[in-house]
């Protein structure tokens, strides 16, 4: 897997942007200024970025309730996102959607979704559209280990195989759906990939805390799909570093679990170690990226804080194109 310096720095920048975006939210939420439910993606950055680094704006993704990482990885405007999460008039969705409903069609980002499992059939539809367009585009459904038990996800997998569309099911197995462990909820002993295989598609597995593994496995997968091999699935073994939502007491964690995760399963740390050992990059460059990202997030936050709220008079607009 050969990557250029720029590609490496870009990948790191996207992961770092997600990380800092989420950690900032983690802090800001304590202030009480951010309303609603916020599900942080922190810990899973390598998954979103390792997948989306293969895509361009014409490829589609559908996302989940834990969607900030997917949005950033797919190129959504960070400041617009922050304003959205703050519920501001100029947010990416005018403050109507909030954290769970960010979309940007111009980036091929078809939407985060508050309904677990709802995105997968939509990805099949987007993939159907891509197939008709014959431009080699794909549609990706991000799902969690919990979402993989929802009927819609199963139906979507079967339908993708039947319709032979370039749909890709990315299962981010972070071992929890809310407070429930994957060992319990997925009847097949947490093996999501083989369940996908049984639907008649090829499935891969990768370490979702390792950018390089995710990225290179996705390359293989995409060669298969773009080569006309039909839909595919990948199970990414990853970690969620914070609670299910902000405010979660996380009593389901084992003793020392979070410390271990931060120590051993931090994709940013792993990335740094890898590029450092391999002499691929001067780590100082990554420090510079961190500083730039930090500046961006600072700006995004202060601009969002200062931004005007939506006008209540517009509450019933944009329901229809025409009514």
């Amino acid at each position: 897997m050969q990557m250029s310096r720029d590609e490496l720095i870009g990948a790191y920048r996207r992961m770092a942007t997600i990380r800092q975006f989420e950690m900032r939210l983690h802090d800001e939420i304590k202030s009480g200024e951010i309303a609603g439910f916020t599900h942080l993606y922190c810990g899973q950055e390598a998954a979103a970025v390792g997948v989306c680094d293969h895509l361009d704006d014409d490829d589609y993704i559908v996302s989940t309730h834990r969607g900030h990482g997917h949005c950033i990885a797919k190129g959504c405007d960070v400041k617009g996102m922050m304003k959205e999460i703050y519920g501001r008039r100029d947010g990416l969705c005018k403050g109507r959607g909030g954290s769970m409903h960010i979309a940007d069609l111009s980036k091929g980002m078809l939407g985060a979704n508050g309904i677990v499992g709802a995105g997968a059939p939509q990805a099949v539809g987007a993939a159907l559209s891509a197939k008709l367009d014959r431009k080699g585009k794909v549609a990706i459904a991000f799902s969690g280990d919990g979402a993989c038990n929802q009927g819609t996800t199963f139906e979507a997998m079967n339908m993708a195989v039947v319709l032979k569309v370039p749909a890709i099911f990315v299962f981010e197995n972070n071992h929890y759906s809310e407070h429930t462990g994957v060992d319990y909820a997925v009847g097949t002993n947490r093996d999501i990939a083989s369940r996908a295989e049984a639907f008649g598609m090829k499935a891969w597995r990768a370490n979702g805390c390792d950018y390089f593994d995710t990225y290179s496995t996705m390359r293989e997968l995409l060669d298969h799909v773009r080569g006309g091999g039909g839909p595919a699935a990948i199970e990414l073994d990853t970690e969620r570093f914070y609670g299910h939502f902000e405010g979660d007491p996380q009593r389901y964690r084992g003793p020392g679990e979070l410390d271990r995760l931060w120590a051993e399963r931090d994709c940013l740390k792993n990335f740094r170690a890898r590029v450092g050992e391999g002499g691929l990059l001067d780590l100082a460059e990554l420090d510079r990226v961190d500083a730039e990202v930090s500046q961006l997030i600072d700006e995004a936050t202060s601009e969002a804080r200062a931004a005007p709220p939506p006008d209540p008079a517009h509450v019933a607009e944009d329901v229809y194109v025409e009514y």
């Binding site: 589609y60 559908v62 947010g91 990416l92 969705c93 005018k94 403050g95 109507r96 959607g97 409903h101 960010i102 979309a103 940007d104 069609l105 078809l110 939407g111 979704n113 508050g114 309904i115 709802a118 997968a120 059939p121 939509q122 990805a123 099949v124 539809g125 987007a126 993939a127 159907l128 559209s129 891509a130 197939k131 008709l132 367009d133 549609a139 009927g151 819609t152 139906e155 979507a156 079967n158 339908m159 039947v162 319709l163 607009e317 944009d318 329901v319 229809y320 194109v321 025409e322 009514y323």
Partner: protein, 336 residues
């Protein structure tokens, strides 16, 4: 103008629009028929006979049979619509909104709003609905009230071949998700259909009769049942304004209120159980907005608060009948 039935009007409109607009695709269970069988495809052309010939003409990319997975059918339509296509998804029975509601209600109906007005989801969902075939509790329901209640969706119910063409064309050229209801007992209804381009705007009710004594507001199969009642009433010199709503969302409030302002008497006929129904919706709007014109309590003719039964005698007792409609009109008139 050619004469054809509603079934044919739908098939021809689909074909004509698919010809005109490459982005239109059709999907559903057995909309082609015969996939993966020795008999070969296009074995049926839709269980209701509304999609024959489309597969032969437009091919497997655009006319697509699916597994029995209604959530995925509607969800795929939603996703394809976001991604630039104009899918026409068929729910073989409207009752199957039970297994696909989320994709209709929380997904395609809400995308545009949730995403700040920046997306379009021009999906058409065809729902085959209604009683009259003794198909019992799970295959006979009229779920248009449920859909009407849902912001973001449009709800359309043609009752003539001309409207079937006009409303379907409008649905396929618009940019919002449309719930296109086809009554299974109306497919054979014949009538003249305008040639060439024919669009029927949504939110524009059809004045079926103008009589001036009482206003009947209704839709779907109840339009023809109401006409039968009107015939009886006419014989007694009672004139009815009969309004076929054509679309319940958007609603042509003006047509309703204009008529009630003249007649002062309202009968709403609705093939549905009574609670939180379209009947209650229309009656409440009239009570609220034409209160001073009303000379009698609004009459609501609906089915009972019960599932739809199987046996002929029971189904007939369940569905509002011409006789019950006639009675309601007489009661509205008798009130002083």
């Amino acid at each position: 103008m050619a004469v054809m039935n509603i079934r044919e009007a739908i098939t021809r409109t689909l074909a004509a629009e698919m010809e005109r607009d490459e982005s239109i695709i059709v999907l559903g269970e057995d909309v082609v028929g015969g996939a993966g069988t020795a008999g070969g495809q296009e074995a049926i052309g839709g269980i209701w006979g509304t999609t024959p010939g489309l597969f032969a003409k437009f091919g497997p990319d655009r006319v697509i049979d699916t597994p029995i997975s209604e959530s995925a059918i509607v969800g795929a339509a939603a996703g394809a619509a976001l991604a630039g296509k104009r899918p026409v998804a068929e729910l073989m029975f409207a009752d199957f909104v039970g297994v696909s509601l989320d994709q209709l209600w929380n997904q395609m109906g809400k995308f545009r709003y949730m995403f700040g007005g920046k997306t379009r989801c021009p999906a058409v969902v065809r729902l085959i609905y209604g009683a009259g075939m003794n198909a019992a509790a799970q295959h006979s329901q009229s779920v248009y009230a449920m859909m009407t209640a849902m912001p973001g969706l449009k709800t359309v119910l043609p009752t003539t071949p001309a409207d079937a063409k006009g409303l379907l064309t409008e649905a396929l050229r618009g940019d919002d998700p449309v719930m296109f209801f086809e009554h299974k007992a109306l497919y054979g209804v014949k009538g003249e259909v305008p040639d060439g381009d024919h669009r029927q705007r949504f939110g524009e009710a059809r004045m079926v009769r103008e009589g001036g004594d009482v206003t009947i507001v209704t839709c779907g199969r109840m339009v023809s049942f109401s006409e039968k009642a009107c015939d009886k009433l006419n014989a007694d010199g009672i004139g009815v304004d009969l309004i076929d709503l054509r679309t319940t969302s958007p609603l042509d409030e003006e047509a309703i209120l204009d008529s009630v302002e003249q007649t002062g008497r309202l009968v709403v006929v609705d093939e549905s159980p009574p609670r939180c129904s379209l009947a209650s919706d229309i009656a409440s709007i009239v009570a609220a907005k034409a209160f001073s014109s009303l000379k009698a309590p609004p009459q609501m003719v609906t089915g009972p608060h019960a599932p739809i039964p199987f046996a002929r005698e029971l189904e007939r007792a369940w569905v509002p009948s011409p006789g019950k409609i006639e009675n309601a009109v007489r009661q509205a008139l008798a009130y002083r």
